[in-house]
Assembly symmetry: none
Homo-oligomer: 206 residues x 4
DNA sequence: TATGAATGAGGATTCATTCAT
DNA sequence: CATGAATGAATCCTCATTCAT
């Protein structure tokens, strides 16, 4: 161990990333001007261009790790048999990855319209779709499919939404995971098409 | 006689809203230039300013109805007793409102970073928070609280996410609602911490 | 008595002038949008164009009377012999005209850069120049000429400046006139070139 | 060697100021578009924004020196005893400052309506008021007060007005100063109301 | 490694003005 | 008399990006 490989480049690159992350979070990607980043760092805008080719490039660099982790998980998932336990494990690992990258999710979610036009957004969508596929059962009912999709969704958006609730972060993460797992599990228990659907919450007029 | 071509009291205002909605959906609010809207309508940018005071004003006008509907629901919720059946009904009505305003949700979700800085975003957040409050039980466990929050969230984000699933829209909506109701209901059944209160009015199913 | 000659036109024209005068005073000519005028009147911008051909035309109409009065004074001055008493009388009449049209002077002074490019500004400058000529003595000393010019100036700008001093308006006007007359008179008393100039206020280094 | 054509640390900032001053004088501040400035310089509008934050900032930069000089004079005035000789000296120094900054006065006077809404205008008004205070005597008669105010005014507006008179500039300046000093002095001599206080230090002339 | 200077494209907004009704 | 609708031209300003040094 010890960073034997990383070239001894100045830490400016890292500092740019740090500040960029902070500002993208606070103001959004589009509304963050490069000048704001450079100002906060005490360098010139031009300096940013020494370290990154474009503004988008800064953004991309922030997502490199998350992309790798998701790819690894997807690869793992593909090697496993298609059974409930595996899917639950998938969800659990997802939960960890998502929470570790929580700030990136904030950016992803809050800047969708913008990122959709960028590689970052497309790549992420593709990966979520791949994960979603791994959770789905072929030929399952609509109810089941919606629930599987929702399970992942809960993790994805919930990661970002439960921050405003009080409580220990790890506890909250587990509670969220529990809810998601519940949805996934119920999708697998054939109980779906009959009772749960129409029984609850449908306006009586229907 | 009768002006067949030039409408006397033109419907331009409505047409602006239509085109704006379309473009905000396709490209995001920020990336949509007023010029694009006016070009598509075959009028001048200045014409937009005859009908709306600012770009934001166009956006706001699109959300007027949704805001009203949510306010009515919140008002209704506040008049009801705090019991599970009411909350389920709340969720069900929410589901209807959200789905009726589906395109607006797309905009809301995809442009969060932008809209957060605008009245539209703040107003909506406030209303969702109010609804969320109506679903919560005092002194409930963390698990229950996370689930209640997630229930609403599922509706909110799910509305936007299930569009890419195949199937009849109304069926999908009901499936989504079913999942959300399940989360809400389970939060209210003793299964979470035993303190969630008497699950009055819930048919002991399963 | 009774306005027998004035055509029975609506009083809108007059009301436009009133509001315009008020707003031109408060905000300046350029910064006052026609929309502000029409809004304050509860009519449409287009309505203004029924009564006046252009924005400038509104302005011009406000200055019509003042122009006439000055022209009359100039004409009178030209008929009189060139002597001190006449000039003093000229100054006194000027003082009355200027003070009666005080608001117009505010506009004239505060919007010079703008009005200079307009007929209103040019016309006024020409008239002041004509008056100034009437006060001047041929072949007089520089000192005398400066003082004569200053005398009129004092009236012109002073009208506008003494408003912030406390005191009865008419008293202030007379005090201002007294100062101006003093300057004019001293220009005529040959006492100028010798004592008053270098004696007071010149830095000792000179 | 040595870049003969492209200056390394370009003097663009100064050139912008020069051109701006010229155009503000010729056309007024408001009517001068930034495009005109940049065109005349052969650069882009954006280049102006590299050197100045806003259009107003260009204007402010032009007035920086004048503001400093006036502040120094005010500070000096406050340290002196309140007597006629001091006030005469004040007027004299004012005269010098005003004439050195003659073009700025043109701008100040010709664009009042505009500048009043800007910091430049307010700051200047404040400074003139401070100077005016230094010239005033407590409890003096209205006549005296009007004259003191007029004295400064004469300098202020006269600076701008005597340019159209023939004659050596410095001579004209002195003549103007003489007139102003006369007004000030007469305000201090018993001739106005007898209460103006002991004319200490004034040689009993004429 | 970085900067100073500049660009080009584009954005929202404002305004006087016009004209059919 | 007056309005509703629209225009065209202009304005200030912002931003990502470039490049010689």
């Amino acid at each position: 161990m010890g960073s034997t490989t990383t070239p001894r480049r100045s830490n400016t690159r890292q500092r740019i990333q740090d500040v960029a992350l902070k500002l993208f979070l606070e103001q959004g990607y589009e509304k963050t001007a490069l000048r704001e980043i450079s100002d906060e760092l005490g360098v010139t805008k031009a300096a940013l261009y020494y370290h990154f080719k474009t503004k988008e490039d800064i953004l991309v660099s922030l997502f490199r790790d998350l992309g790798r982790h998701m790819d690894e998980l997807i690869a793992w998932g593909k090697r496993q048999p298609r059974e409930l336990a595996v899917k639950q494990e998938l969800l659990a690992r997802c939960s960890v990855i998502f929470h570790d990258a929580a700030p990136l999710f904030d950016i992803l979610i809050a800047n969708q319209a913008t990122l959709d036009a960028l590689s970052v957004g497309q790549d992420f969508k593709d990966r979520v779709a791949a994960l979603s596929d791994l959770l789905q059962e072929e030929n399952s009912s609509l109810n089941a499919r919606v629930r599987c999709a929702t399970a992942l969704l809960t993790l994805h958006f919930g990661t970002f939404a439960i921050r405003q609730l009080d409580g220990d972060p790890e506890e909250k993460r587990l509670a969220l995971l529990a809810g998601a797992t519940e949805l996934l599990t119920s999708a697998h228990e054939g109980i779906l098409s009959g009772t749960a659907g129409p029984a609850a919450g449908v306006p009586p007029e229907g």
